[in-house]
Symmetry: C2
Subunit: 255 residues, 2 copies
């Protein structure tokens, strides 16, 4: 949802088709095989709803499934990792980059290998932060416990003297106000939501035909595989307005 | 797994068929409709594997789906809530009973209504504790943050002067060593895992034909819908030995 919001802000006239797999989240603690299966089902669903380009707006899915999706589908597939890396390499001063993410994302080593391919001298320090997703989903955005958990997770990265930190999970922008002061004022904090929205905007500027086809009217639609009060509340918090969530069953491909 | 372990200890000669839906957990933050769908698929799977009685070893599933399962299937269905309530009503002195559980369990009001049906003068105080499942799954069983979160959750119950506390989630027995001293020495702590294992044992004593049919040899089997290192570690922690986890796909009913 943080990515959908960032895209909406940069490309307000485009129609979004959002899908949130709330019936099976969180992905970050699941195996690559399971995440790949879900990512395939979800992408097929979005394309069936008329999506003409797809953003894999979840680092765990992007880290293990985006190659597979690019292979399987002809529509342009964007993901949140490469744009965040490009943004990090642009702003880093000492090439000491910290990555925080779910267990699945960090275990995939995708940030390390992609950064190494672009800049061999960059040093990457990774830290899995599995409790941040449940804390965000609980709305504990300013609680003392959240600050303590963050301190524990960020301590090793601080110790390594990173100058740039990538928020490698689309839940983490909601904790940026706690992360930034704790990792230190000197450290650039990269939000992959904004980064991928910028990349998509540039891509559309260079592909006017696709850009034009996306301008065809209609309302944005927000599908989810499960509807709960907590999800409604999170949507309202992120978008700053009420969002109508429509139930969709992607296992069988229908709504 | 805490229930499987308790059953194994009480009925060591019986063959267990376990299924853990790790690809879709946690259930406690999901809607009743989604939990019901999953509970149906899981029960069908267990019966296909030859199970002759089924224990719904999850309070969230039991709270919204056990009536449906009893209706749909002819095999005896046990669940963790009724045995825990019976145990609580047996030991309570002042009939002031606290319940902790997931959001789904607490929202269902199942403990309140079942207790009211058995003892109209009992007072029930409920507290959703959504962060305890992720903390247990992370293995943060003795961390300062876990103690702080527990203190926050238990505070309102302590304030109500409960004399008995039901651990209304099968993850919570792993935190019993932190919960018991924090809620107070005077308070009985009821573990639904042990309670349901006792009920099943009694049922088999009263149903010797079923009991005999369960004694037919073969190994216990532990199926899961996703295999991760964390799951292997949790299984080893609970059972005190290595458990071979077999991947099963219950969406389509096969393995």
């Amino acid at each position: 949802m943080t990515v959908a919001k960032a895209v909406e802000q940069l490309l307000p006239e485009k129609r979004l088709v959002y899908f949130g797999d709330l019936a099976r989240t969180p992905y970050g603690s699941k195996s690559p095989e399971t995440i790949r299966k879900y990512a395939l089902q979800n992408t097929e669903f979005l394309l069936k709803q008329g999506a003409k380009l797809v953003i894999v707006a979840c680092n765990s899915a992007a880290s293990v499934a985006s190659d597979l999706l690019e292979e399987k589908f002809s529509a342009p597939i964007f993901e949140v990792i490469t744009p965040a890396i490009d943004a990090a390499l642009q702003v880093t001063s000492d090439c000491r980059i910290g990555i925080i993410g779910t267990r699945a994302t960090i275990k995939s080593n995708i940030y390390e290998s992609k950064i190494a391919a672009l800049n061999r001298s960059a040093k990457v320090f990774s830290q899995p932060c599995p409790l941040l997703v449940p804390l965000v989903e609980e709305g504990w955005l300013d609680k003392r416990e959240t600050k303590m958990v963050l301190r524990r997770y960020l301590h090793p990265l601080k110790h390594r003297g990173i100058d740039t930190l990538v928020l490698g999970c689309t839940h983490y922008p909601l904790l940026k106000h706690l992360i930034a002061p704790r990792i230190g004022k000197r450290v650039n904090v990269i939000d992959s939501s904004t980064a991928v929205a910028n990349v998509v905007k540039n891509y559309l500027q260079n592909n006017p035909e696709l850009e034009k086809s996306l301008s065809v009217g209609g309302e944005s639609k927000y599908y989810v595989s499960d509807v709960t009060d907590a999800a409604r509340l999170t949507a309202q918090r992120i978008f700053g307005r009420k969002i109508e969530l429509t139930l969709a069953n992607v296992e069988s491909g229908g709504i």
